[in-house]
């Protein structure tokens, strides 16, 4: 009999949160501090190994002389269909992107479905069709899968898990801990589209042109950037849950550096900004599903930008900031007013304000 696993909370910086949240709350899945704590203090001690400890988007495995990237992600989005995509595209592109930002060429995916009794087959067919097309577009194959059905009321129609495997490109050692002082911070396009597309549907917001999710596979675009700049690309991430703010905070923390962004330089679509204002949200925290952040050596910044601008998914790429030696492990924004503010990692979900 293995010993029962007893979580070690002795090193929590603050032991109180445990007493606060003895059960799982929605914020544990919000891509913020609550989720990070769950990983660091519950999953990591139980599973501890060197591949996991990097806490990257994908684990890197040295296997039979090859460097493999392996990742998994689950998709529980509501609504299942939204402007610009569906849970099907998300499930494929999300996993492809987690591989791509690790510097890997994605090869094969798995697909696991948890379906609720009563879920219409026509909707499942539409989701699966979307997955097939997304996989073809990304140049990957879905090679194995699994289906489970739960009783009515025990699921939300359709949950999908995908895992993916890919080969890391030779000579690429990019990772969130590789940001260096002086590096340029580049984002591949407008932020907040996916999150606000979902929120707009949920809240019944209508705009002259609907906000569309940016859901897309980024492996082609990232390959082009790596072809052009190679090892000058120090870190890559796709800012999904928790948005650009969480991603840049993670990089700042992992690399032990400060990051400054220039708020007026952030590409944000007008309708996304408007929807954020209406709902009391900040676009830096809103999810993206088709954007990448690049931390690159300053001398390569122009090359990377030019390459991105030549790509269909990177036309709106912008240089938004740089890495500094000050305020280590923190993200700071320079506001349009010329003042500064800190952009912290969110605790849990972003909460809309009252007024």
């Amino acid at each position: 009999m293995p010993e029962a696993f007893v979580p070690d909370f002795s090193n929590w910086s603050c032991p109180l949160p445990l007493a606060d949240y003895p059960t799982i709350v929605m914020g544990h899945g919000g891509g913020g501090k609550l989720g990070n704590e769950l990983v660091e203090h519950l999953f990591l001690p139980a599973f501890r190994n060197s591949a996991l400890e990097d806490l990257g988007d994908a684990a890197i495995l040295d296997l039979a002389g090859a460097r493999l990237a392996l990742t998994t992600d689950s998709f529980v989005v509501q609504p299942l269909f939204f402007p610009g995509g569906s849970i099907g595209e998300l499930a494929v592109n999300g996993t492809v992107n987690d591989l791509a930002v690790t510097g890997a060429t994605p090869h094969a995916l798995t697909a696991g479905f948890i379906l609720e009794e009563g879920f219409p087959l026509a909707q499942l067919a539409a989701i699966v069709d979307a997955m097939g097309k997304a996989a073809a577009a990304a140049g990957v194959q879905i090679v194995t899968g699994d289906t489970k059905v739960v009783e009515r009321g025990h699921g939300d129609g359709c949950y999908i898990n995908t895992a993916g495997v890919g080969l890391i490109r030779p000579g690429i050692h990019a990772g969130p801990h590789q940001a260096r002082i002086g590096d340029a911070v580049i984002v591949s396009g407008a932020i907040g589209d996916h999150g606000m597309a979902i929120m707009s549907v949920r809240e019944g917001l209508e705009f002259e042109s609907p906000i569309r999710s940016d859901c897309a596979a980024l492996n082609g675009m990232i390959a082009a950037v790596l072809d052009a700049a190679g090892s000058a690309v120090h870190a890559m991430r796709d800012p999904t849950r928790g948005g650009l703010a969480s991603t840049l905070n993670e990089i700042a923390r992992a690399s032990g550096v400060g990051i400054v962004i220039d708020e007026p330089a952030l590409p944000v679509r007008m309708e996304v900004q408007s929807a954020c204002e209406l709902l009391g949200l900040d676009p830096v925290y809103v999810a993206n599903e088709g954007k990448a952040v690049f931390i690159v050596a300053p001398e390569a910044a122009e090359v990377v930008l030019a390459e991105l601008h030549a790509q269909p998914l990177g036309r709106e790429a912008a240089r938004i900031g740089h890495v500094v030696a000050e305020h280590k492990q923190m993200l700071v924004a320079r506001t349009a007013m010329g003042a500064t503010r800190i952009i912290p990692t969110q605790i849990g979900e972003q909460l809309p304000r009252i007024c």
Binding site: C14, L16, P17, D20, Y21, T23, I24, V25, M26, G27, K33, E203, G258, V260, D262, P264, M270, Q273, S274, E277, L279, G280, G321, H322, V324, E326, H327, M330, V332, R334, T335, A336, M337, G338, A339, T340, R341, I342, P344, I347, G348, L351, P352, R353, I354, C355
Partner: protein, 374 residues
């Protein structure tokens, strides 16, 4: 979007700040009443642009922050009941009661939902006739018309399963309480633009006259705030104390008369407890006799609530403008957004949370070392 970009122009902001620097010959303490203004001041760094002597004091206008702990505890008790759908604006979910918050009630199986309008809660009541739907209606005069509309609509639709847990508070009595407080330091007010869009600003000239303080109706964008501050400083320097409207694109003298009529039909003035401040006479609204049936406090007789505030928390002093958040001994130590001791640390509009989130505990020197252009 022009309404946003036009009022966030950095160059114009710098010019307006320079004018404030040129006008201010003495130190002045100006209170922005509304939590939305506090949020915008800190988020945009407006306070960093002002002359050293011109100090912004953050007022009690964050609805989440001034909601009494006892009411939060009532909300938690109602939300935990079976058969209840408890609806709230998002930022109330993380406000700690004596034991836990609404997120935990939800985590333990309570049906707690975030809505953007109380009218959505009325729709939920119509769709779920077997459930009791309760909307947590807190806030100032700004959120009151929609809450009034919700009970008005529920009555017209004959819905017996909708109720409001309501605790509205009013700005003018709060301003008067601050001005009457011993040791008051506030010399001018930026009035809350959204409150005035509903109520107009006809209520304020008697206050400005009685206490000889200038008051400027002010919006929420950087240029709105700088204009409000500039006008307040100009009045202070000239020894004037008038009510000015610096938010005329939204606010009229009389306000929204249709909304005011609806409010008068649904609510009556009552004494209210303000968290961290205490009871202010005639400072809130409750449902009047004609709408008492829709009062969740009446419908759910929640007994045995004894709220305990943290003895370390000085949110009352913060809300009255007596101290800055960072001057509280618990700030950033025992009290953080992760583990708030008081509501001012919870709400995004709370002064303590704004200070913490935007890093006002880090020295200005360290931030100043950072330059985007390098």
């Amino acid at each position: 979007m022009k309404y946003l970009t036009e009022f966030r122009n950095g160059e114009i902001a710098q010019r307006m700040a320079q004018e404030i620097h040129a006008r201010a010959t003495r130190p002045w303490k100006i209170m922005e009443v509304c939590g939305g203004q506090t949020h915008s001041i800190i988020r945009n760094g407006i306070d960093q642009m002002l002359p050293a002597g011109v100090q912004m004091i953050h007022g009690p206008g964050c609805p989440v922050c001034v909601t009494p702990l006892k009411l939060i505890d009532q909300a938690l008790a109602i939300a935990a009941q079976p058969g209840v759908i408890f609806c709230s604006f998002g930022d109330m979910l993380r406000v700690p009661g004596s034991q836990g918050d609404l997120f935990q009630v939800k985590g333990r199986g309570g049906d707690v939902r975030v809505v953007y309008s109380p009218l959505d809660a009325v729709d939920l009541a119509a769709k779920n006739p077997e459930k009791q739907v309760v909307f947590f209606g807190v806030g100032f005069e700004t959120t009151a018309p929609a809450n009034a509309m919700s009970v008005n609509l529920a009555r017209r639709r004959g819905l017996k399963n909708f109720s409001l847990l309501v605790s509205h508070v009013l700005v003018p009595p709060a301003i008067e309480a601050i001005l009457q407080a011993p040791g008051n330091q506030v010399q001018a007010f930026l009035l809350a633009g959204h409150v005035c869009s509903v109520m107009g600003y006809w209520q304020y000239p008697p206050l400005a006259e009685k206490y000889a303080v200038p008051m400027v109706v002010t919006g929420f964008e950087p240029l709105d705030l700088l204009d409000g501050i500039r006008r307040a400083v100009v009045q202070l320097e000239a020894g004037r104390h008038e009510v000015e409207n610096a938010y005329s694109r939204v606010v009229t003298h009389h306000g929204n008369r249709a909304a005011q009529q609806l409010l008068a039909q649904v609510f009556e003035v009552t004494d209210r407890a303000w968290r961290g401040i205490g009871v202010i006479p005639q400072s809130g609204w409750r449902l009047n006799a004609a709408y008492r049936d829709f009062d969740a406090e009446q419908r759910f007789q929640i007994a045995g609530i004894h709220a305990h505030e943290s003895p370390l928390c000085r949110s009352g002093d913060v809300l009255r403008g007596a101290i800055r958040p960072s001057e509280c001994a618990a700030f950033g130590k025992q009290c953080t957004p992760r583990h708030p001791l008081g509501a001012t640390m919870v709400s995004g509009e709370g002064a303590c949370a704004a200070y913490y989130n935007y890093g006002r505990f880090i020295s200005a020197e360290e931030l100043a070392k950072t330059s985007v252009s390098s």
